[in-house]
Amino acid sequence: MMLEVKNLHVKYGNVRALHGIDLCVREGEIVTLLGANGAGKSTTLNAVCGLVRPAAGEIIFNGELIHRLPAFQIVEKKITQAPEGRRVFDTLTVQENLDLGAFTAKNQQRVKKSQEWIFELFPRLFERRDQLAGTLSGGEQQMLAIGRALMSNPRLLLLDEPSLGLAPVLVRQIFKTIRQINQAGVTVILVEQNARLALKLASRGYVMEVGNIVMADSASALLENPEVVQAYLGGT
């Protein structure tokens, strides 16, 4: 097992955001995390990345306990995140954003290769590399957020709502790229509001409600599940 989250609790002050969730991810998978607003999806990803500290529970990555590590050391374990809302460094150039993605990288040869691959995945980023990230369109910013997260050559990539606010054409393009990234050997956890597309892409899915995981199944089973269809796939 690549990633194991066991009985994870997270609190923000007095607000309990996660009430002991369990999930796991195998090497090479795409796993999707579905749930309504405020269910705790971003909190789960941020706990894995070390941005929020668990109140209880364990996070194990390739056999190693990582939930006490500060966020900047998680990157060196080869886990990166393209966060919700993209969070690109708006007054830095595209190139500087990408360089920061490789901040921890020691092998410059490796970084060059990653960057070439990222420019292949997102040719637009290459065209815009000297432009300030804040002047990119929403779709381009999302490409940058994903590209930046790939610069350090991660084994596990966490994507938080990559399709947020994008036109349908772009959404399909981003999903296609996520599949390419996965086929190149990067394991992916995908948080999405667009449940149908996410379940078609993923091999397994988890459904979260107010800080709990209420369903865990293969993506194809979830696509057929009446409750999931009712709540997340818009009826029918």
């Binding site: 990345c49 500060p70 900047f72 990157v75 995140q81 966060p83 690109v88 007054t91 830095l92 921890t104």
Partner: protein, 301 residues
């Protein structure tokens, strides 16, 4: 013309000093959204440490004036930088997650501690820097005479500013500092140790302030334990003028403030010198609330 040129060169020399101090305010604000009100006192400490080292080590006797002053400046910058880091550790770091006002109160407390410590160690009376270290010759350009010292002071501050600019814009660590100033959590996701970045900023800012303190000592020959108050206020004004949080803004703001003040003193009234500076600040903030180069609206503290 003679007056104008004299005031202009004097304004640039003083403005360079303001700019160096302003950089400390702006860098700390950029990363922590905190006004380090004790920064003016770090400048004072730099001036006094410079005096102590200058008289006790007699560097300029051993290695000559130019090398002696460079070594002195490096030593003072290192010492004041370390004091800056300690200040952060003691006064600000414990309050990182507290309401903003707590850190402001802590900053004012630290300022009082610093200025009183300087007074207890060095006494309440002004102290004089050894004379004749900087060249006292006068330059003749186009029939106008300017003391060489002004150029030395201006050149020193410009060199430090260019060095900082190149470091911030061109190096990996500099880019990490800029990233942390934009979005700390996103910077963490890149693998940047934000605590380290903050430590570095609390070294560089005070180091530049300390260098400015030595420059004031050498330029005016006299220092006082209260000097950090007015210089700090002016430099803070310069930082706001340029757009707080913006590094080139602090440089431009400092130089501009020095020149305006100096010309104002000559052409309007010496007595109004300080008021002119703040009047200009008000005008610019009415026209451009974010300061000359600022992008984001300065938050209230």
């Amino acid at each position: 013309m003679e007056v104008f040129f004299t005031q202009l060169t004097n304004g640039l020399a003083v403005g360079g000093i303001y700019a160096l101090i302003a950089l400390g305010y702006t860098m700390v604000y950029g990363v922590l959204k905190l006004i380090n009100f004790a920064h003016g006192d770090l400048f004072t400490i730099g001036a006094y440490l410079g005096l102590s080292l200058l008289t006790s080590l007699a560097l300029t006797d051993h290695v000559g004036a130019a090398a002696g002053i460079v070594i002195l400046a490096v030593m003072v910058m290192g010492l004041v930088g370390v004091i800056g880091i300690l200040l952060d550790r003691a006064a600000y770091k414990p309050l990182r997650t507290s309401p903003r006002l707590s850190a402001v109160v802590s900053a004012l407390g630290a300022s009082i501690v610093f200025s009183n410590t300087v007074m207890l160690v060095y006494g309440p009376n002004p102290r004089v820097y050894p004379q004749g270290i900087l060249p006292t010759q006068v330059f003749e350009v186009f029939g106008l005479s300017v003391p060489v010292m002004r150029f030395v002071i201006l050149a020193a501050s410009v060199i430090l500013m260019i060095g900082l600019y190149v470091f911030i814009q061109r190096t990996k660590i500099g880019t990490a500092i800029r990233a942390a100033a934009i979005d700390q959590d996103a910077a963490r996701l890149m693998g940047i140790n934000v605590d380290r970045v903050i430590m570095l900023v609390f070294f560089i800012g005070p180091a530049l302030g300390g260098a400015a303190g030595v420059m004031v000592g050498l330029y005016y020959g006299q220092i006082k334990f209260t000097m950090g108050w007015i210089y700090g206020l002016k430099a803070f004004t310069a930082a706001i003028l340029g757009g707080i949080g913006n590094i080139p803004g602090a440089m431009v703001g400092g130089l501009l403030l020095g020149v305006i003040e100096s010309l104002g003193a000559a052409y309007i009234s010496m007595a109004w010198k300080d008021a002119i500076a703040f009047f200009v600040l008000i005008l610019i903030l009415i026209a451009r609330p974010t300061g000359l180069l600022g992008e984001r609206v300065a938050e209230k503290v």
